[in-house]
Structure formats: structure tokens, C-alpha cells
Amino acid sequence: MLNRLAVTGIWVKDQNEALRFYTEKLGFEIRADVTQGDYRWISVGLKSQPEFEIGLSALKPNGMLTADDVQMLTKLVEAGKLGHGVWKTDDCQTTYEELKAKGVEFVQPPTDRPYGTIEAVFKDNSGNIMVLSQDKPYRTMMQADTEA
């Protein structure tokens, strides 16, 4: 039986730039930083979620990754067609303003979604698309009827 997701990864164009983005702009902490030869494994995570980390995998040829693979992956990452994730927040509008003030690029401001959330969409500095999502308070059908 599977218990939980512990580690996943996203492709980044430059690990140093990505590390700065995730720690200094988004407030992540460093979970692992291991160098072996010319390979560096670096992962980050949220303080509020200590059991989960994301590897910032460098887009450069090595191992099974050819130069052609890297070229293709880089194109997809830059275009926002590859990496993505959803980050939960208690206050989408405030977090949106905080991140925007730090220079995070948003492709969509906080917007009411029909499935019970408020969501904004931003890009990391490689191009990976991330959603900032706030759950709206649960309403009973009767409350919804009354409001309508």
C-alpha cells in the first residue's frame, strides 16, 4: 500500500536561479543539497509541509538525458507546457499581492472558480506553471439557494 508522496521533481533551466526563486521569493526551505561530480541534487519544501519536497532538476545533458532531450524539454518548460503544481493558501489575494511585490510573474490574478476555489496562476523563473489556490468556505445547498 502506498502511503504518501514524499519527493517529486520539476525541470529548471538554472538551479542557482531556481533556488533563489523558490527560497527568496516563495519562501521555501532547502531540504537537500548534494553534489556528486558535476551533478547536483537540490530539493526544497514548505516549512508547513515538512514531509514533502520538490527536486529542482537541472536541464542539462547527463546520464540518460541527451542534448536533444534537454533542448526539447527546455522548450516545453519555457512555454509552460510541462511542469505544474497547485499550492494551497488561506488567502489567495494577499499572497498574490505579496508574491507580485517580490517580482513573481502572474499569468492570471485571483479569480473565483466554479468548483469552490479562488485561484491565481503564476510562473516560476523557468516557466513552470503554478496555481495559487484558496478553498472557499463550504456552503450548504440551502445557503446557496438563499444567497441566490
Binding site: N16, E17, D33, Q36, G37, K47
Partner: protein, 132 residues
């Protein structure tokens, strides 16, 4: 003695002595090779020059000390073998992506893993050890 063994010895020498000043002349004398030949041989085997490897060792140790110790950044700088705080900070930032103080702020966590996940090892061709 095979020359790759001498490169291995040179790496061992750096592993043991990276906290002290080491010159390429000293290192090449230790393994009885010319500096130029040693640099080329080392780079062929380990994909980096002895100097790059030495800096990597010092930076790696500095990262550990920033994460797990209360030593000041100046103390860490000298403990890992750098003679100037300015060059340590500049090299650290260039190599790691963050200034030493920012790295310390972002890495002092109780949940720290010190291994490369197997999936990443398989994808990137990483072995358990660097030894050839």
C-alpha cells in the same frame, strides 16, 4: 603505478587536506606528476580540475556547517580553508546560488535529506560512489 591511481591519490589528498592551503605544485609533487599532466588527467577522470574539486569540497563542507552548526560565517570561511571572506562569499554565491547568510536562513530545517533519490540517480547516471 597506473596514472589513474595517481589521480585517485590526488583526490584522496584533497579530501584529507582541503581545509589547508594546497597548491597545484604541492599536489603534483605528492603524486609524482607534472602539474599540467595532473590537471588534464584529473579532469578526464573526474570531469573537473583539482582546483574545481577542491573548491567543491570546501563549498560542500561550508553548506553543511551553515545548515547544522552555530559557527559564524567568518569561522566557517576559515574552517573550510578559505583565506578571504570576500572570495568565500563570492564563490559560494556563484556555486550555490545564494549568499552564505541566505543559505543558512533557508536551510536550517529539521527535515533534511542527505541522499539523491534513486529515480534521479537512474535518470542522470549517478553511481553510489565517484570511484571509477
Amino acid at each position: 603505478m597506473q596514472h589513474h591511481e595517481q589521480a585517485h591519490l590526488a583526490r584522496r589528498f584533497l579530501d584529507r587536506g582541503y581545509t589547508t592551503p594546497i597548491t597545484i605544485e604541492q599536489l603534483s609533487q605528492e603524486v609524482a606528476l607534472s602539474p599540467y599532466y595532473l590537471i588534464r588527467l584529473f579532469r578526464r577522470i573526474y570531469k573537473q580540475t583539482p582546483h574545481q574539486y577542491l573548491i567543491q569540497l570546501r563549498i560542500s563542507r561550508a553548506k553543511e556547517l551553515l545548515s547544522y552548526s552555530d559557527l559564524s560565517i567568518t569561522e566557517i570561511c576559515t574552517d573550510v580553508g578559505f583565506e578571504s571572506l570576500g572570495s568565500f562569499s563570492a564563490l559560494f554565491r556563484k556555486s550555490v546560488g545564494l549568499a552564505p547568510s541566505a543559505y543558512r536562513r533557508s536551510s536550517q530545517t529539521s527535515q533534511k535529506s542527505v541522499y539523491i533519490p534513486l529515480c534521479a540517480c537512474l535518470l542522470h547516471g549517478i553511481h553510489d560512489t565517484l570511484d571509477p
